[in-house]
């Protein structure tokens, strides 16, 4: 799964949920090994992309937003800057995520009207990101070792063989989700379908990947959908362009860059 959209929008848990395709046939694949495989999958040392986010309510009314995303991997930790460019009323709104050791993140929001960035507190990470069906938590990576994994079986998704991996946060790990059931493509360790469950066991969200392509030899989600199962509200992310392994530098993904609008 492409880290870009993955991390941008759902990544967090799903990225933790994959397995080792190269596992020796004689050794049974464990859930954690699968998750490690997803987590470590090549997503390039950096990427720059543009995408359209479409918010669709249960009546089919749609609102779209265009954004750019810059991501860079530095010393094993990621920094990511998302900037909305359309429509005009949110043009310039920016969101910066800086990973710290342990995969805790510093998150900052920039609103052009305020002309400064604000730190976002951890409690806000379970809230919707710009009123999409993705939460701030969905936009973080999470350490593989923070979760318990179990391979629940295998299933085909659109003709692709997948592992079914169930992920639960370990005791003491804070999460809005009690569990996630993800379908991971065996061949390239991309989550193609994920169902999110709350602490009451209710299926609250579904993540799907209707579009997947290889870009510069990196499997990349070109279309993803997150659906709220209660409200039937959907968020579509349609990737327009992406370039991996560019010459962007860490200073272009910083609080200063965030405020430079």
């Amino acid at each position: 799964m492409n880290k870009y959209i993955f991390q941008l929008l759902t990544a967090a848990f799903i990225s933790c949920l994959v397995a080792s395709a190269t596992a020796v046939a004689t050794e049974p694949l464990t859930g954690e090994a699968l998750a490690r495989q997803v987590f470590d999958r090549d997503r390039g040392k950096n990427s720059i992309s543009t995408a359209v986010m479409i918010l669709e309510n249960d009546k089919g009314d749609k609102k779209s937003r265009t954004f750019t995303n810059k991501r860079i991997l530095q010393d094993g930790l990621e920094k990511q800057l998302i900037r909305f460019t359309e429509p005009a009323d949110i043009n310039g709104t920016g969101f910066l995520t800086i990973e710290k050791p342990g995969y805790e993140t510093d998150q900052f929001l920039y609103l052009p009207a305020l002309r400064r960035s604000r730190r976002i507190v951890s409690s806000q990470k379970s809230h919707q990101f710009v009123n999409s069906d993705f939460t701030y938590e969905d936009m973080e990576r999470h350490p593989v070792e923070n979760y318990l994994y179990e391979i629940k079986g295998e299933k085909q998704i659109d003709g692709t063989d997948c592992y079914i991996l169930e992920t639960r946060p370990k005791e003491g790990v804070s999460s809005q989700y009690a569990s996630i059931t993800a379908h991971i493509a065996k061949q390239f360790f991309v989550t193609l379908l994920a169902e999110y469950y709350d602490k009451k066991g209710h299926h609250i969200k579904t993540y799907r990947v209707p579009g997947l392509e290889q870009k510069q030899n990196i499997w990349t989600e070109t279309r993803v959908i997150m659906e709220d199962m209660n409200t039937r509200h959907k968020t579509h992310i349609n990737l327009e362009h992406i370039e991996y392994n560019t010459d962007i530098t860490p200073d272009q993904i910083s609080t200063h860059a965030l405020e430079r609008f």
């Binding site: 305020l114 003709g159 692709t160 392509e213 370039e243």
Partner: protein
Amino acid sequence: MLQKTIKTGKVYLGLIFFMAAFSVPLAIEAEPLKILPILMVNLEPSVYLSKRTVPSEAKPLVLSDSKKDSAKIDFSGSTEFGASLDTDDNHSSENLTSFKNRTIIKADYKQFSVSGISDYLYFGDEDKNEDYDLGVYEMYVRYNTPSWDFILGKQIKRWGKTDQVSPVDTLNPENITEFITPSYEDRKIPVWMADITFRKDDFFVEGVLIPFFEPSRFHYFGTDWAVFSHLKNDIRQSSLAAPLKSYFESMSVNEAEPDSGFDSFEYALRVGGTIDRLDYGFTYHYANEDLPYFKSFPVKNLSLDNPGSVQSLLSDIGSLSLTNEHIETTYSRTHIAGFEFETTLADFGVRGEAAVKDNESFLTRALTSVRNPSLFWVVGADYLSSNQWYFNLQFAHQHIYDYDSSILYFEDNNYSLIGEIKKDLVSDWLNASVQFTRMLNDNSYYLSPRLKYTYIRNLEIMMGLNLFGGKDTTILGRYDENDQVFLHMKYHF
């Protein structure tokens, strides 16, 4: 009636300053900029999962996080309309209605940005008043390297971390012709400045030079929010003898702005960074005050609790000494040292600021000013609950050193609570909020409940109330009769 407008001469001087500064980035641009180049790459068309093949097709890729970095000129802007209606007709001179229209059109080309503004403000009814400004709003050029940022031109530079009130945010003056009813950010006025920042990891040093003085914008007479409110019109309608009426009618203001030249330049420095999850900054600003120092007032022996109240003035009319002077105002120099921080603690965002001024001008009951050192600090926290209630509460304290009991509105220690409560009512397109300021010393307050509707793309519609309360001798209570319902529409393009 004095109306402060954009001064054409100052704009020309600014242009010269700007063009001189522009030569630097032009020279630097000879080297290849690594800022968001436009690349052509081979991209595959969308292939759905069931196919999963990888044909290719050349498409342009704009490697930019901002439209303004693209190679074409990008136009954007907004136009807004506002109208208000007083909830009560308390006073014969008051403005029962107001109307405003502000349009800003902005053009961005690479690292250059220019915007123009058309700004109209009308206060209606008996004591009518209107302002119109047309001119350059912001105009700057920017150059960035991994370690350096240069921004030269007319701009707004925001320092500080707190909301609605910000002690260290002293670089830009404010438009307070409608007092605090517009948002803090909308009140800010761009000024010509050169801003240079050096960064190294989580540390930065920023220097600012402001060559031309720009005061805050306000009215002395003739509006509900003016320093002397409707005093002239009230006197005109009073039972005062005709010569006295004529005397007050002819009262005028001589404003002495700082001379242009190096001696009036403002200098500012900001040093800051991030330690763990703490963002901090230390600031210093050698400034011209944005609000005037009242050097003299033609009527002597005054001791008014409310400078806009004709009753207060007339009650002592017999003991007053009337001179032929004008109201003389100047703008004083001051040193401002500040500190700002922002962090997160558990579920709360926590931020604060403090600023010490070696001298700050305060209006007295004699309607002249005194200058006293002052300390102003604000600390606050915000919280967003799981069901999308947003709370923001800040505590502010102002201390006036060497306090003079003749100072209007303020005591030696002034405490206030400033905050906002907000809730999305329907998705993200209808929200309700309440902004408030409560002065704890005198219990005066400002309260503004609002409804904001944003369902239509690029259009914001807000309606609400601006409510003031307290004794008419207090900073907020003096506007007690200005309670109003308002409608505000803003369209972005």
